[in-house]
Amino acid sequence: MVLTQLGPLAAAIFSLVAIASLLLSFVMLGSHALRHYLYAFGAQSWLIAILSASVGYYANFPELYLIAILTFLFRGLLLPYLLLRIVRRLAVPREPIEILRPSSSLVIGALSVVFALAVAHNISVELNLADTIAVLALTVMLSMKLIGFLILAARQEAVSQILGLLILENGIFLGSQILVPGMPLLLEVVILFDLLIVVVCFGVLVRYLMANAGTTSSRELRRLVG
């Protein structure tokens, strides 16, 4: 079992990277300038690439180096670039109306981390992994999930919603690097490409939204009810 055989240095690096990426999702939660979301997302993806590489090194999964490079290129460079293009086209520099103010969303985000920690702790006790990095990996995975959904629910700009979805994916990807580094390579590569297609599709849809619906805010998309 990989998780129980880690040296202290490796465990420290993994924890540091995981916690730093969690903090970056709080940056996204707390700011309302669309550009800041993008920078935070890009940085988060770089951290995940670093994590993949270090898991590959310390736990001896050489194929993770490839994943690290692809993550860096796709998630770290290409996706933020594509999103930046969408943001530029939008001419909406910041989230206009807020359902939830940044400060309140930070508090809710913190609560969801506490909840995630409780769940993660229970699972790890059940699996006899309570003293390992599994607790942290699960916590980060679940809380990024919750934060992603929080962003999806509380933000209305199209780009913010795309980023919410990407945080969901980042959380899973980050957790899976630590928990299941042996996951088939094919799958991880396909998921990376899939993300790329997702973002391209979103880009096209955003263009449709602007041209045909005249808005990219979900607050004004409320014609279909009942």
């Binding site: 969901l168 899973i172 996951m183 799958l187 849809l205 045909n212 014609r223």
Partner: protein, 486 residues
Amino acid sequence: MLSLALMTVLAPAAAILLIGVIRQPRFAEFVNLAAAAISFLSALLLPLLTAVRGPHVFWGGAITVDRLGAWVQLCTSIVYLLSSIYAVGYMRMLGEEERLPRFYALFAGFGLTTLVGPMMNNPGLYWIAIELTTLVSTFLVAFERASEAIEAGWKYIIVVSGGISLALLGTVLSYWNGSFVLGPRYDMTWASLARAAPHIDPMLALLSFLLVLIGFGTKVGLAPMHTWLPDAHSEGPAPVSAMLSGALLNTAMIGIVRYLSLADRAGVGQVSHNVLIALGVFSLFVAALFIVRQEGVKRLMAYSSVEHMGVIALGFGFGGPFGIAGALYHMLNHSLNKSLMFFGAGNVMRSYGTKEISRIREVGLRFPVMGALWLAGAVAITGAPPFGLFQAEFSTLRGGLAVGDIVPVIVMAVLLIVIFIGFLNHFRLMYYESVVPHPVEPKALGAWCVVPMWCALVPLLLLGFWWPNALWNYFDTIAHVLGNTQ
């Protein structure tokens, strides 16, 4: 067998390429139709062959052809063929000639991704296939470019992508759970997860199942995750609505069923089944509420899909030979019947130029043949005899009684009756209510729009009178393989 399975997906793949090369509207129509016909013929033989030779995996375990998958592929390819025929007539009415090749390329792509899903032996790749169906069909939903259509497309992709990411989390956790038994590196297949299942941690297994259920349940349209469904179904062109409802929902349901069987093996079957039953009942309840007070004709059909997915979920939730046979038979009949209903709704919508039930009147007088087919379909979809869905729902109810789930069975029966009354009341208004002050003069319909309705209704009637014994045995084997004989 492999070649047959591949044929079902290679035909639409080839169609996409051909349409990409030669961008001619008529040519695109023809190629897509031909691909659908080839898919259908191969998928028709596939269950037969699987029943004789048993399940197989190919390509180093990447592709599986088993009874359950072959069955869903058959249902999917039927809808793909019927809606391809219908699309020829319907899409010509839209007057979007120059964009038709793109439509058919996307349509074939939608057929391709829904047919690929059941063949995937790797749960992760299955997840990807489902994700791809969303991406392709979003553009089909938004095809008409009206602001409502774009809104529906946006809502669809956001809600479903968000939901389905939970299924990915469930998949990762399942793999993690298996790694305690099979070691950190192992092939991710349904079979290997099933092998590990009896020894894995039950709590984590339950958590993974619930995540997967919510995730794929979003795609299936189980309430309360169904919010995208009425919008997407009502705003897309009618052939797309038929595909969404008759093909896509089944393909997503198969994922839930496969994970349910894993949960059974892991010893958390009782809770998992109960949660599935609860979601099924809630879907029926929500559908009943919205069907009774519905104002849009296509939204009516969409909520009926929520209802039927609820019934299928109940069938698998009850389990046992009757429950599973009922659910699988329901899939086929629902695919046929819902295609018929969406074709009728599309015809009516186009010829009256409105989606509002209150402005559609005297359908039976204006369209004697098409009207009769649609009305028969409406009777069939509410589960009345002598049509196939009656048999399927009856078997599901028996399945529920057999395992002693009395309360859900009673609630299901009551809600089905409510839906029967509510649904047919709308049809009473559309057929027999006198004309509104400013009647719309309906336009005539071509043969392309009516023939597929015949093709759906005749087998539906046949399946109502005659549930072949061979199918019983086929379903029974599936029930055994799933291990749901509680």
